[in-house]
Amino acid sequence: MNRSVVALLVLLAALLALPLALDRYLLSVMILILYFAYVGQAWNVMMGFAGQLSLGHALFVGLGAYTAAALFQHFAIVPWVGMLAAIVVCVVMGSIIGWLAFRFGIGGTYFALLTIAFAEFTRIGFEHFGWVGGTGGFFLRVTQQDHVDVVHLRGPPILFYYLALALAVIGFVLCWAMLRGRLGFYFRAIRDNEEAARAAGVNVFRYKMYAVQISAAMTALAGVFFAFYYNNLFPEQIFHISRSIEIILAPIIGGIGTLFGPVLGAALLTLLSEGINQALSMAGHEVPGVKQILYGVALGAAIMFMPNGIWPVIARKFGFRRAVTADD
């Protein structure tokens, strides 16, 4: 066993034991970190591995959330089945976007705009979609909090902590396996030089589609988690472009295309944002917007001074390089 694997196992053990030491507030912070680590990982599959910039990932979160929530609320279908439906819906949506874009070789900025257009279109659509509440929001029945019901995903925050942890671990392992396999090499070949990849015999269209579909499916699960954790959904919040930006911050600041980047970025950003919230509420005035300004500054500084993110720098310093970074 090398150093990286040992470090990972220690981290996992610590995360499994952590709720024993945390109060309710800190537990909710940890849930946020794990959530953003997971969605960041999902986005990273498209952008970090295959080089397709999506600025509309909130679309998949929202669709996943609404699908599972609507099935649960209207037809009493358990979330574990609703999850599959959510994946199907998101993969279909991702395939439509991918097919429209990649068939004409739309890439870069145009592709990013297409993803935004789909997210915004869907957001406005859901605002007028009465079956799931429209602008008024969609609410899940909240039952007694201390009773753990794994089948219906109803229960106290600790249930959601372990769910989020499971998602983050599954996402991490999935991406790790992907990077080591054929898929990962094809993705990175496309990202680094599409023409060369094509010339070497990679079916560029098909593998770009796979990247979008895998990423959409992973993000759908994050949406289901979101719906059952928060119990309320508003199109204005869940599909909004600022949500999409929130999703991409962690992997960008942590390190695009690396396995640990999204995790590290999510931890740093969530702690930063919670720290700001605490400081502001202690100072006695919570001004909306201050947090976003600091996000903007962090994003700008990261892209200016550490275009590859923080993780590669740390990885080099501690000698984890081989096992955990995607590049070199």
Binding site: M47, L53, L55, L100, A101, F104, I106, G108, T109, Y110, A112, L113, L114, I116, A117, F118, E120, F121, I124, G125, E127, H128, I241, S242, I245, I248, I252, V287, P288, G289, V290, Q292, I293, Y295, G296, V297, L299, G300, I303, M304, P307
Partner: protein, 288 residues
Amino acid sequence: MPIEAIANIVISGLLTGLIYGLMALGLSVIYGVVRIVNFAHGELMAVAMYATVFAFAATGVDPLWMLVPMAFVFFGIGYILQRGVINPFIDRPEHSQFILLLAVALVVVNLLLVAFGPDARSVQVDYALDSYEIGPLLIDKVRLICAGVALVACAILFAIFRYTSFGKAIRACADNLLGAQVVGLNVEHLYALTFGLGTACVGVAGTLLSMLVDVTPGLGPAYTLLAFVIVIIGGLGSIVGALAGGVLIGVSESVAGLLITPSAKSMFSFALLILVLAFRPQGLFRAR
């Protein structure tokens, strides 16, 4: 529904669309030359709108008199933004540039939110409710004047590119960057000038639009998206395309507001964008 009512709505959409066109033209010019996608475009526009609202509240001067100073101020802002912040990113990958401007946009729009709060503000000139009656048609005076000014501004921009020597130099950079460098053009300076011209369009368009709509910080991202929709529909980098795209979106928004509900109007624009990207990605008004 009476035909006059529909005609009135189409005309009002068309006039607003010309102002949208001016805004989108700024984005298009910047992309056409500097090859940077200005993701903070609408946010700069919101800044111009707030500047107008406050200048009007403080002095009571008709915003139309502010157009020229506003154009110069925004030219300066654009020049500095390009030279100071964006220029180091010229050779970086597209997504890096995109994210940098996203960061700028995030900071600008939230500074507006912190400074002015989420409440809507507006400019009420004393002729705000006047209108011209032409036969059965009723046309808002403010809207007509603003659309006229927007057209004039577009003409001026066109003349700058066409007839001034630095306009020619800018076109040279756009056509053949290496050639422009070989003959000794100062590309960094010219890029900054272009960015300045693009943001001057935004300054003028923002001043005009603040006379027609209520100003909130949320307009920033909304107008960024709108500008993108317009230039992509019209064809990125095409002057005529930006104006025509603006008119198309202006009309489609007002008709959608009439036929469906006003809150769903931008859904229409995004649907149009998706169709154009899917079937004619080079834009409606541009050869491939």
